[in-house]
Subunit: 273 residues, 3 copies
């Protein structure tokens, strides 16, 4: 893939866009993703008629695997500072959570770590019944940097947020719905039609009513400042890539990390096998 | 009904009141309701022995349908300012959520939009298994004005609050419980006895313990100021009744809106048919 | 039991401690418990390698029954002031909720009132399928003093928190999970192995990642000041032991309160029989 192609925007209408993410082989989030997402968020912010955006994956097994552990570290360290004053990685997610239109993640397959932080930054998460979510960063020695602590604490409550974050295990669709991590589970075969129907319904409503109502939900559901996000991003930079955890990541690569048919299939369990 | 009869108070004892709402044919909330509710809230605030209040409907199919779209607009625009400094419509709900005794909504049938905002302003929602809740305002071009954004965001989390508010669809009892919109579902035939038993139990407890414990829950569960409510009320006045959405409401009236056997039965689905 | 033996610490490793609580016959919390818990929390705060602590009960029927109604009232009134500036009873729970390692309550049997406040002060609650939780204080005329209002409001939402606190009834395991009062239910026979496996998994992770991630969850899930806890503690002292409720407690003692085979088995129901 060239740098400009990871997010493919299909403008179904002025009011309804579908965005299909594709970064083979397992939809990793890498520095290109971060740059392209920054542009995409700006484009969404700037579309005056837009009422609803659906995010999908071109890969039915991986919505977004996680951050690319093989990323150029210098490029990451030099990541652009976004409008919030924070590095683009978390800046994207903060801005995404506040775009005027409704955003929906339609999740088939696995979405973990940075991928989970992406879907937590969208407004609604509808998932297929074989979807798997999770935040495994602690299992490889890192603090999640893209807002997982702030968002899960508010969405699922303290006890379940700590179980997800510190257990670092896979969360199957049914448990994710039980915990409130996702909105609801739909049979995999019906998910696309269900989400498209929901999105078209909202797209048909008055744009001002949708955007204003969404904006007024923010006060009771988003952190009042970006301090929590800044703290998480800082902790990520301080903890990731430390030599004492290098063997954990090395072992996972020996088992096929970042490849479709290895340890990624069952990462939660195999993290500690 | 004359203006004074929509809320019928049955004082089971000094500690336990049942309030039965009746405004045929579908229990709309209209300007009379607003004025009478203001008086009722004051009466509840002033009853020193009161420990628990149960709200019921005289109509098993409609707990409270929604705001009366045919209300005299001048009368609404001139609505009294309540003790919070806000128009009586939302002032009632803010004060209701802070009355000293425990308040319980015992819900048979449909409760949507302003009706949903009423039950969200009570402390506990017990529902029959055929109950249906929802906030369909966005579907007719309005922002909800009575606190739905502030209360749902805190009760069901951001993702599900946005699904309920922007999807504007019916929420059946089982999903409402799964999402935390209501406390729990009870078979319709058992609901009245269950709620009466629960209320009598609480009414038998020490009034000071009940009232003080309730008051101490407020800090962790209600907005710290009325700003969110003020913003919602303002947005309602700015968005409702705009000419660009007149056809949406007109179509619904042609299908029997505000009548028991028409579109009200299945409003969520028929909003976009 | 002598005063020093209620909490038995089993150091499985530097990273993983199991703490077994035993105060026969029903694991009451008494002034000795409060003093010993203060020491235990300090010991946990001071263990630099500790990553996870599991709390268990030596009694499979009673995790922690509740506060000992026969405690020496002068000793309680003179309870030490802890580091938070509040009496040790609530100070313990505030400090426990903020210790650096992850804390897990592994709950068999009944845990009510002060016992419920203890487990709410730990991070995660895993429960057996026959576990029973509850806050029955209001049913004997007291406001809960150890943080129940602040913690339940944030964990289960306003409606369900008020149902639990003012209904003062038993909450069986399945409903506790449905409401978010506990993380999840595990068959009783599997609970110990499940919790041990979860704890060993977390104990094997990088300590800094675990502790930092936990700390960053606090901002979105704990009260920002101790004011709510101070208010609850004050209300407890003002309401508990009032003569107008003496008969309620006396009746329960006549039915076997604080004994394993009497009213404790089914306290929620029998509170109002």
């Amino acid at each position: 893939m060239t740098a400009s192609e990871q997010f493919r925007v299909q403008e179904e209408s002025d009011a309804y866009w579908r965005v299909v993410f594709e970064n083979p082989p397992v939809n990793l989030i890498d520095p290109d993703t971060v740059e392209q997402l920054a542009d995409l968020v700006t484009r969404i912010e700037s579309a005056p008629e837009l009422t609803v955006v659906v995010f999908e994956s071109a890969n039915p097994d991986y919505f977004m695997a996680h951050w690319d552990f093989l990323s150029d570290r210098e490029r990451v360290a030099g990541m652009a500072i976004g409008p919030t004053g924070l590095p683009a990685y978390v800046d994207n997610f903060i801005r995404l959570s506040r775009v005027p239109p409704l955003t929906i993640s339609s999740i088939h397959g696995r979405v973990r770590a940075a991928g989970s932080e992406f879907v937590l930054a969208t407004d609604i998460r509808f998932v297929g019944d074989r979807a798997v979510l999770g935040q495994f960063e602690v299992g490889v020695g890192s603090v999640p940097g893209g807002g997982a602590m702030a968002r899960l604490a508010r969405l699922v409550g303290r006890g379940r947020a700590l179980e997800i974050l510190l257990g670092a295990d896979d969360v199957p669709a049914a448990r994710a719905a039980e915990y409130g991590y996702v909105n609801r589970v739909v049979p995999d075969a019906e998910l696309d039609a269900f989400v498209d129907g929901f999105a078209r319904r909202v797209a048909g409503f008055d744009r001002t009513a949708v955007r204003t109502t969404k904006h007024l939900v923010d006060a009771g559901s988003l952190p009042h400042s970006n301090d929590e996000f800044a703290a998480g991003m800082k902790a990520f930079f301080q903890t990731s890539g430390r030599p004492e955890n290098a063997d954990r990541v090395k072992r996972l690569f020996s088992l096929g990390l970042q490849q479709p048919d290895g340890v990624e299939r069952d990462l939660g369990r195999r993290l500690t096998e």
